[in-house]
Subunit: 460 residues, 2 copies
């Protein structure tokens, strides 16, 4: 069986590929929700069964949190070893009432498959799973060894994997890690992502009076924790989106002229981009394009606030407590621990009198940059052009895959970030989707990638 035959056979199997994705998406594997623990494990077990059915050697590896799925094809002498990394856990689904169809009732509309996890990351992970499983089923020899590492805690910071990675290093020894958890540049323009932002997330609680107070009897004499919270959040960023925490920009590496020039050639349409997300105009640091702001500038975002009365009607109180969840996106060379220290100092300096505050860092990870000149990058370029019919562009991505930098450090390998998603796929939002054609193109690109990588010799 030739590779051309294999690509044809993958096309014929596309209805089954879609049905299997639908089946997997029905499992509500929300890793941050402790009440979903059983469902998270169920999603892992589904994948174990899929690998086992295709003849891979597979293990469900327990962690202190959710388990990881490890699977591998046989070693091929002299050929490269590739780790495919991805995650089977998904983001929470609130606000539920904004979903047109249920987040765990996968539904096809207008060529898209709608469900939580469709693009982030079950749908993208499954492109590689399908290409490998079908390759093995065809009886043709895979020209390289592939090791799958699919975890269940990416959306909560990958802490267990990060901790266990050194112990797994020998088992995961490889030349290159392949990750599909990002996007194409735009509809019809595939991309290879060579940079990711880092992240640092926090919860801040401000406590005032021991209980809610009547705003008439006490107002004017007591610091209101919700006002204190507004003041400190406001103090962290100015009206132009520039972060005001002293030291925050100290380690930021500025964009190179070459990168800025290359990105300027991308088919950017900021007005259309603004329209697609429903805002009248974009916003951000002066002197940067929207792509530069999203991919290569560090940011501050408030993810949620809760304080006092939020129900129907009026309740004239001074709330006892106000809380915010917020996050920074960091650029390569910024250290989350240094950012936390700078933040703690800033908060101590800006907290009004008469309230107490507690800052709880959640997770942090540095950003990442990959080698754009590697032979793996050249192979990916070939594979994507073959499957998508267009040369991919080289871009960065504003999201964070905290474990990627750790792979570079611990496994001393290259990284290929090959995203099949689109920017309007609603990752982390209601009505998440994955374009069905991109799912199938991703499977094709994956198979082509194994063929191209198989032509390379194993690194010394």
């Amino acid at each position: 069986m030739s590779t051309t035959d294999l690509l044809e056979s993958l096309k014929k199997e596309s209805p089954r590929h879609l049905n299997e994705l639908i089946e997997w998406l029905k499992i509500p594997s929300i890793s941050s929700d402790s009440s979903r623990k059983t469902d998270v494990t169920k999603a892992a077990t589904w994948l174990v069964d899929k690998f086992r059915g295709a003849g891979l050697s597979v293990e469900l590896l327990p962690t202190q949190g959710h388990p990881m799925v490890l699977a591998e094809t046989p070693p091929i002498n002299g050929a490269p070893v590739v780790v495919v990394y991805g995650h089977y856990d998904v983001q929470p689904v609130e606000p539920l009432d904004e979903w047109i169809t249920g987040p765990f009732e996968p539904t096809v509309r207008d060529g898209n498959l709608y469900a939580r996890g469709a693009t982030d990351d079950k749908g993208q992970v499954l492109t590689h799973v399908q290409s490998v499983c079908d390759w093995l089923a065809s009886g043709k020899t895979l020209p390289l060894q592939i090791k799958f590492l699919i975890e269940g805690e990416e959306e909560v910071g990958s802490e267990n994997l990060e901790r266990m990675l050194p112990d797994l290093a020998e088992r995961l020894a490889c030349d290159c890690v392949v990750i599909s958890d990002s996007g194409q540049y735009s509809d019809g323009q595939p991309a290879i992502t060579y940079g990711l932002r880092g992240i640092a997330t926090y919860e801040l609680q401000i406590d005032g009076p021991s209980q809610d107070l009547h705003s008439g009897s006490f107002g004017g004499a007591v610091m209101n924790p919700a006002i204190a919270l507004s003041h400190v959040l406001s103090s962290m960023v100015d009206a132009n989106g520039r972060i005001q925490i002293p030291g925050y920009y100290d380690d930021v590496v500025e964009l190179s002229t070459a990168e800025r020039e290359a990105w300027k050639k991308l088919p950017q349409d900021e007005a259309a981009f603004a329209k697609s997300i429903g805002v009248s105009e974009l916003f951000g640091e002066a002197g940067f394009t929207a792509d530069e702001r999203r991919w290569a500038r560090p940011t501050f975002d408030v993810n949620g606030i809760t304080a006092g009365h939020q129900g129907e009607g009026v309740k004239t109180i001074i709330p006892a407590t106000a809380k915010a969840k917020f996050s920074f996106r960091l650029v390569p060379n910024q250290d989350p621990a240094k950012i936390t220290a700078a933040l703690e100092t800033h908060l101590a300096n800006h907290m009004p009198p008469g309230v107490r505050h507690t800052l709880t860092p959640d997770h942090g990870a540095p950003g990442m940059l990959a080698d754009t000149e590697s032979r793996f990058m050249a192979a990916a370029n070939q594979a994507i052009e073959g499957a998508f019919g267009k040369k991919p562009v080289l871009i960065r991505e504003g999201g964070s895959i905290p474990i990627v930098t750790r792979f570079q450090e611990v496994l001393r390998c290259d990284c290929l970030l090959l995203g099949w998603g689109l920017s309007d796929d609603n990752a982390h939002s209601p009505n998440e989707k994955f374009r069905i054609a991109d799912y199938h193109r991703g499977i094709q690109a994956s198979a082509r990638l194994w063929e191209e990588l198989g032509k390379l010799s194993r690194q010394a």
Copy 2:
């Protein structure tokens, strides 16, 4: 039967008085909660039955919202007519988990009765209801006519009563309105309240992207509505509690030297006050005491904020929407409509680009000042000293009873604000309570007030 006998007989009836209050407090008459509509009416009907049982002529008057209870004793030729105003509706009860016993399971602990509405205002209203009903039951003639007006919408702004008041003016014609919906100055120091703050409440919604966005893919290029909200709330008040809305202080009448001197003689203990509400230090406008800030300075308080992810764990989003509920306490001579106009201008000037905002004013009412030299005030002074064993002090109160200014305007009457509560009664908060001894002293003071007022002749 002499008045002394009546006061003795009221004492003997105190167990029944307490049981009746407990019975009334069990009815969850939360006026702002549309799911409690039946309960609100049930609380009104309870009162109607109580009046009817005592032989008053009584009516349950429907409104566009919750009904009012109108009841009256027979007219007495040449004697004054007094309206007793109060409310049977109560505040919401969240956060429920902070209540030691259920808000609608009235419980006696340490000489206090705990329940939502215990002090605000069912318990205080019932002191006058009990004194009048028992007076009639004693067979002794009441030396004046008393008209009760007990409404069910005070906690949501008294809009229907305000609208209907001109039509009710003839029926409510009186010399003086008596209201017990405030407090004593401190434990053991009764007070007559001659001033109230006004109020203006709002909900502000800020909308950004059409749905929650991934903070990695979009962060840095889109205005975050929760940050926009923090900025505008922060812009409304400075770090010293001084409101920054242009024009906000224009109509504020400064405190007179005489008032400031009189208040300085009150037994103030700001450290103890701070401790009693669980804060390390008080806060507020420079140059004013805590009493001055609470009673006679206008304020800004955020009552609640809601935005983005508020549940367990991390959800790294740019929320589509952020909302705040906030309120101003106004001082006499400030006009809520002018404040709303100034606020609208301020918001328009301070709203960042890339978001849309909607300001919804809820209710507004001006503050109030009563005549401290009136013969009614002298009568109240006598009655309170008799019942509490101590001369009351003259104070203002920071809360708002929006309808009081309207009574002065429409009924052209005096107002007596005679509060039996204490500052730690937790009105509007979890574990609201009323000291049982103060409930019974209030009933005694009420009976003595009818006797004192009965000695006065009807105004021309």
